[in-house]
Amino acid sequence: MPPSKPQKRPKLSREGFGGQLNYFLSRAVTNIRQNLFVNVLTIGTISLAILIVSLLLLVFVNLERVTDQWSERVQVTAYFDNELTPQELHTLKSKILSLNGTGKLEYVTKAVALQRFQARMKGQDALLEGVTADILPASLEIQLKKENRTGDSLKAYVDRLAKIQGIAEIQYGDDWVRRFNKFMDFMRVVGISLGCFLLLAVVFIVANTIKLTIYSRKEELELLSLVGATRCFIKMPFLIEGIIQGAAGSILAIAMLSSLYLGFLHNAGNFISFNPGEADLVFLPLSHLSGVFCGGILLGFMGSLTSLKRFINF
């Protein structure tokens, strides 16, 4: 056996956590620069996917808002044949207020009713002729609590209200409320299932695009493992790359969404709302925007992670 000299090893200057992270980051950035085309492709795919999903989200947010506005108009009105005395009004009010679901109450005297009528008929004086406070009924306008404004619970409320004595007639937006709520329920189901379907498609497409990026660097992955890189070491730059792609993709998507919104969407709402003042579509609130951003990052990260599984199996 030949003699073996003691091995002289250079002092290992191990890098700390910060140095390692720095290394992974710069590796990721270099990778992106060296594989610009595939990266642009991936970022483009991610941003397009996120744009579609966030457009859906925008529609959804606005539909919810319109539903809220509409349901505020759901109001039950109790009519009385005669003006109520303060005494009667007081007892009736307390009875109605004790009903489950009552929100605000407003008593409309015959005089007020006339004023309103006149205001509405402004400029059509001919129609107003002969209309006196006397022929208009006094009424109590009942605002319902939010959870009682829809469908069956509205109906139940009205039934309970009808049992109170002294009310001549009850009116409420029966039919159209029900139809509108049905429509909104339907829209919710469609929206959510469409969203889920889209999300699945998006994850699939993005994972495949990222697979492409990683496939083009199979050699590198293999070599790294051959020179003794741990699994974590090999994966880290790719995961960071995925996060960068996801972040870039979602920023791009949000930018596109904003310009779409500012460009023409924001006044497209005129078609779906009643009140011209509230007609504008609102933009996504900050909470949703940060959700979209985080979703993008998660998408890039998960895409990289699942694609790496295919290639690192030692």
């Binding site: 250079p10 050699e219 070599l223 790294l224 051959l226 003794g228 741990t230």
Partner: protein, 223 residues
């Protein structure tokens, strides 16, 4: 340093590439592994750095039984073993510096130290002027030396070289053999797979001969 005991290996297609291999390479030794093409030289080297698992038998590297090594420990085996691959496996889109640096980056070395060490090793190989070229712009002999530099830049305990003098000219062969001998003198145990009879003949080292997956000669130092 390297011990194989009753090792068998069959590929999926039932080709028995190695059968009943018993082998002992001591620390600091320099051995040749020879045999005609298809004898199983590359397969044997792959066993030693954990790229293949034997169908049967035991393998000890540096006192450690690598058969039962969990996947998470394989990287640490490979850090002890520098490999010069038959096909070099240089990354074409990285410079010579970056290719050689990989071995040290994996160990978590700092950038400055990597630069110094890589420069030093490349200088020993007469390649310091090519440090920023990419592998595709180098000659075969130069590429081989870069692959060699990457394998021994971290002074591994074991160096495995698969046909390191492949189809190189006389001068390059001598140079590469010199580098391997130098690494051996600095303490690495070296195994060179080669069917280059002339090269082996000039060297006067132990020669292990494989034929159809059997060791026919030189399985133990004490022969």
């Amino acid at each position: 340093m390297i011990q194989l005991h009753n090792v068998f290996l069959s590929y999926q297609n039932d080709v028995t590439a190695l059968s009943n291999i018993n082998l002992n390479v001591a620390k600091g030794e320099f051995v040749f592994l020879t045999g005609i093409s298809g004898a199983g030289k590359s397969t044997l080297l792959k066993l030693l750095y954990g790229a293949l698992k034997p169908s049967r038998g035991q393998i000890l590297i540096d006192g450690e039984n690598i058969i039962r090594l969990p996947a998470s420990q394989i990287p640490f085996l490979r850090r002890k073993v520098g490999v010069v691959f038959q096909d070099f496996k240089l990354l074409p889109n990285r410079t010579v510096l970056e290719n050689v640096a990989l071995t040290l980056e994996v160990l978590g070395w700092g950038k400055k130290d990597i630069g110094k060490k890589v420069y030093h090793v490349l200088k020993q190989m007469g390649l310091e002027h090519k440090i920023n070229s990419t592998p595709l712009r180098l000659s075969g002999g130069e590429q081989q030396r870069v692959a060699l530099a990457r394998a021994l830049v971290n002074d591994p305990k074991i160096i495995l070289a698969d046909e390191p003098t492949g189809n190189l000219d006389e001068e390059s062969r001598e140079q590469i053999l010199g580098i391997l001998k130098g690494a051996n003198i600095r303490g690495s145990t070296v195994v060179v797979a080669s069917h280059d009879k002339k090269l082996i003949g000039n060297c006067h080292r132990r020669v292990i001969t494989l034929d159809k997956g059997h060791i026919v000669e030189g399985s133990d130092a004490a022969k």
